[in-house]
């Protein structure tokens, strides 16, 4: 199936770039025409005059960041304001689990945009603002009405308002395009957004909404916060929770409506949800989330506007959304507490610690089986104890050596592991944890002695010092585990580290090199 390419090209011509809009607004036209011509020629000729394309690229970047063009300034300012209000409102949306409501609202305003255009007879920002707000409110009311008066569930009622209103919007937009003045109407930019087409009035409207959002959130921060997390508590405190809810919804509707020109109806919800969700991954505190979300919003908005400026026919909305999703991906992977990679690394280091502790325990057990005679532990004995090939044990010991608690020495062609005082302390602690827990399970929880080992294998790595002290107290400072083996107590371990006087009874807890 073939679509009319001519039509497509004309459509693109209409959804113009920053550069084209600049030309329309009387910026240095000659220079621009040359630049555009060069860019076009370069892209058509490919690598042969690639350096020329590069010049244009640098030129464009320069123009964007020096902000000499009024259009660039307008678009940038608009993106910054947009980022702020989307970040603030989006944070509340995300913590209130209303993300899909934002999506519905952004689609539902479309017929309002069209009717606003029709009433004003032109693309008048104020008329469109009013029309879109009315449509948004109507959509919200309808979602609630459907939910209240039928058995239809919330997700379906959201979907119905989204689809129904959007359908009507598309029909009206189609009709506007067919009007004699329709092709210049610019209403099609409301679908995917074009920051370059922002007028200064629109930027002031976005700015106004951003200001209102900042002021209201600052003034009513507590009320919004309580209303978002504990509606029952808010009511008990005598807060008019409903009022604040509607205030928030009103702000949300305004944000969506003023964002339409820059981001487009289809993707506004993304600018609400994605920066806020990224912030949600980084912090537990609402005020930090609000600030972070605004920063991410600004960053995505500006980056989207920038790339739309570079790539000639690219709509702004999708680029902003992609910038926001890149931020989200980074947060999702590398957030210190909740990031996938951070958590994976944490898990890896925990696993490594448990592995090392098990090695230490095995070394202890081998020494114990020899009556603590001899200082080193033969690698082959350890392998036998761990029930694994000697090569694995060598790797295990190498890991342990890397942590600095153990030395590996070759004596007469055989490998021996020697623990240093730190290592010995740790080994004793793990064994003590294990045996204390076994005893606890047998004595206090009435487990059979042959059922306690597996539990102790797990718990020995997580018992903290404080818990150990309490266990010892509870079990009345025991010296033997259920299997009749010694439990190295704190006193034993500490004494073992000091010089044992000749007359003292040997506990066996003597350092290898003493």
């Amino acid at each position: 199936m073939k679509l009319d390419i001519g039509y497509v090209l004309r459509w693109w011509a209409r959804t113009s770039s920053f550069a084209k809009a600049t030309a329309d607004r009387g910026a240095p036209r000659g220079v621009l025409a040359v630049l555009m011509g060069l860019a076009f020629a370069a892209s058509a000729q490919g690598a042969r005059i690639g350096d020329m394309q590069e010049t244009v690229f640098v030129e464009q970047v320069w123009r964007f960041f020096t902000m000499k063009d009024a259009v660039v300034r307008t678009a940038l300012l608009g993106s910054v304001f947009l980022g702020i209000s989307c970040g603030l409102l989006g944070s509340f949306i995300v913590v209130r689990k209303l993300s899909l409501f934002g999506d519905t609202l952004s689609h539902a305003v479309l017929p309002g945009v069209a009717i606003g255009y029709l009433v004003a007879g032109q693309k008048d920002p104020v008329a469109i603002f009013i029309g879109a707000t009315v449509a948004g409110v109507l959509g919200t009311v309808m979602v609630n009405l459907i939910k209240k008066t039928t058995h239809i569930k919330e997700d379906s009622s959201l979907g119905m308002v989204l689809a129904g209103f959007y359908g009507i919007g598309i029909v009206l937009m189609n009709r506007i395009q067919k009007l004699p003045t329709g092709t210049q109407s610019g209403v099609d930019k409301f679908l995917f957004g074009q920051a370059a087409a922002l007028s200064s009035v629109e930027v002031w409207m976005i700015g106004g909404v951003a200001l209102a959002a900042v002021v209201l959130v600052l003034v009513f921060y507590r009320q919004f916060l309580i209303g978002s997390f504990d509606i029952g508590f808010a009511k008990a405190m005598g807060l008019p929770a409903g009022l604040f809810h509607y205030l928030l919804m009103m702000l949300l509707a305004f944000t969506v409506v003023v964002s339409l020109q820059a981001v487009g109806a289809v993707l506004v919800s993304a600018m609400l949800v994605i920066p806020a969700a990224s912030a949600y991954l980084l912090t537990e505190r609402m005020h930090r989330m609000l600030i972070l979300a605004s920063v991410f919003g600004i960053f995505s908005g500006v980056l989207g506007a920038f790339f739309s400026f570079l790539g000639n026919s690219l709509p702004t909305g999708p680029l902003m959304v992609l910038a926001a999703s890149s931020v989200f991906t980074l947060c999702f992977l590398f957030s210190p507490r909740h990031g996938l990679v951070s958590r994976w690394r944490k898990r890896r280091s925990r696993e490594a610690r448990i592995r090392n502790e098990n090695t230490l325990k095995a070394i202890y057990q081998v020494r114990e089986s020899h009556g603590f005679a001899g200082e080193g532990v033969k690698l082959t004995d350890l392998a036998e104890r761990m029930n694994e090939p000697a090569a694995d044990t060598r790797r295990r010991l190498a890991d342990l050596v890397a942590t600095g608690v153990c030395d590996l020495k070759e004596i007469e062609g055989k490998s021996f592991a020697f623990l240093n005082p730190d290592g010995w302390l740790k080994a004793c602690a793990v064994v003590r944890n294990h045996r204390l827990w076994e005893l606890y399970l047998t004595n206090q929880a009435e487990y059979e002695p042959d059922h306690v080992h597996d539990d102790a294998e797990v718990i020995e790595h997580v018992l903290g010092e404080e818990t150990v002290r309490r266990l010892e107290r509870l079990l009345d400072y025991p010296s033997e585990d259920p299997h009749g083996k010694l439990i190295p107590s704190l006193a034993d371990v500490q004494r073992s580290l000091t010089q044992v006087s000749p007359g003292e009874k040997a506990t066996g807890y003597r350092m290898p090199n003493q």
Binding site: V8, T149, H151, Y166, G167, N174, R175, T181
Partner: protein, 311 residues
């Protein structure tokens, strides 16, 4: 110039309602059939989707199919059904997978995960279309509200020598038939697992298998409807028939029957309105079925607003 008088073109009964069924039958019957097949297939499966509270998952899939389609085209350099289908199904699986991953591996709730994943993929698709649209023969309008009208430009192909129809109409017809047949064949497990997963499990069924089967079927339907109704309006076709019918009846077989009637009426009036107002047929169909929902909401016996008000 009065903008309002131009908004609604002159209505000619002859031109709008008679000609499509007489001398212009050849192109218009295909538009009508395509509209009917799309709405019927979506409505039929949508009934179950709505019951399982997955309406917005359908919306998400229909959006995120876009990059799959574009990439499939760029890779295969053809608009053949198979690569398109594979690309779209891949995108669909990616969507549900990513939603699951984000939901399970972080503290983001499902609704936000949904909102993040499908908008991102859709944005990526739109950028691809804007960059390579010339080669893909897709434009953003098609993405936004589909191009049912294009079936009329297709050459007719023969169906085993029995009859002739444009390829996409034939494909959509087969898909809707497949949906209806599968739903009838697996009616019991589908119903039980939709309404009571616990009971389904105790009866020896596997609700997870049912879930994935339904999702795959949904993906097939959404993908085949994409050209006709675009990414956004699919959700109208998915939700409205089922919910409207459920206002009119309590019995599932009756509800499924009513969705077919709604599809028929929606395609019929949608086509004629689109012809009269010179607008997108998909937009017109979704507006018509939205209107039917509003009527049912107000006037439905027992469930309607009026009935409840005067009871």
């Amino acid at each position: 110039m009065d903008i309002w008088s131009q908004l609604i073109p002159e209505f000619s009964f002859q031109q709008v309602f008679v000609e499509p069924w007489t001398e212009l039958l050849d192109p218009f019957i295909w538009i009508f059939l395509m509209g009917f097949f799309v709405t019927a297939a979506c409505g039929f499966i949508g009934t179950f989707i709505v019951w399982r509270r997955m309406a917005l998952v359908g919306d998400a899939i229909s959006h995120s199919v876009l990059p799959g389609l574009v990439i499939a085209f760029l890779v295969s350099q053809s608009r053949d059904t198979l690569p398109m289908f594979l690309g779209a199904v891949g995108a669909g699986i990616l969507t549900t997978g990513l939603i699951e991953i984000i939901h399970q591996k972080s503290r983001i709730k499902t609704d936000a995960a949904l909102g993040i994943v499908f908008t991102t993929l859709f944005a990526f698709g739109v950028v691809l279309v804007s960059l390579y649209g010339e080669n893909v023969d897709l434009d953003t309008d098609c993405v936004l509200y589909g191009e049912i009208e294009h079936v009329t430009l297709e050459p007719l192909s023969s169906f085993f020598g029995l009859f002739e129809a444009p390829g996409s109409v034939m494909r959509m017809g087969i898909v809707s038939l497949l949906v209806v047949v599968l739903v009838i064949l697996f009616y019991r497990p589908l119903v039980v697992s939709s309404f009571d997963p616990g009971l389904a499990r105790s009866m020896g069924m596997n609700p997870a298998v049912m879930h994935h089967a339904l999702m795959s079927l949904l993906a097939i339907v959404v993908v085949s409807s994409f050209e006709a109704v675009g990414a956004v309006l699919v959700i109208a076709m998915l939700i409205f028939p089922g919910t409207t019918a459920s206002l009119l009846s309590d019995r599932l077989p009756v509800i499924l029957g009513i969705t077919l009637v709604i599809a028929l009426l929606g395609a019929f009036f949608g086509m004629h309105f689109a012809l009269w107002l010179d607008i997108s047929t998909a937009g017109a169909i979704s507006t018509v079925i939205f209107g039917m929902f509003l009527l049912a909401w107000v006037f439905a016996p027992r469930r309607g607003l009026l009935w409840r008000a005067f009871r």
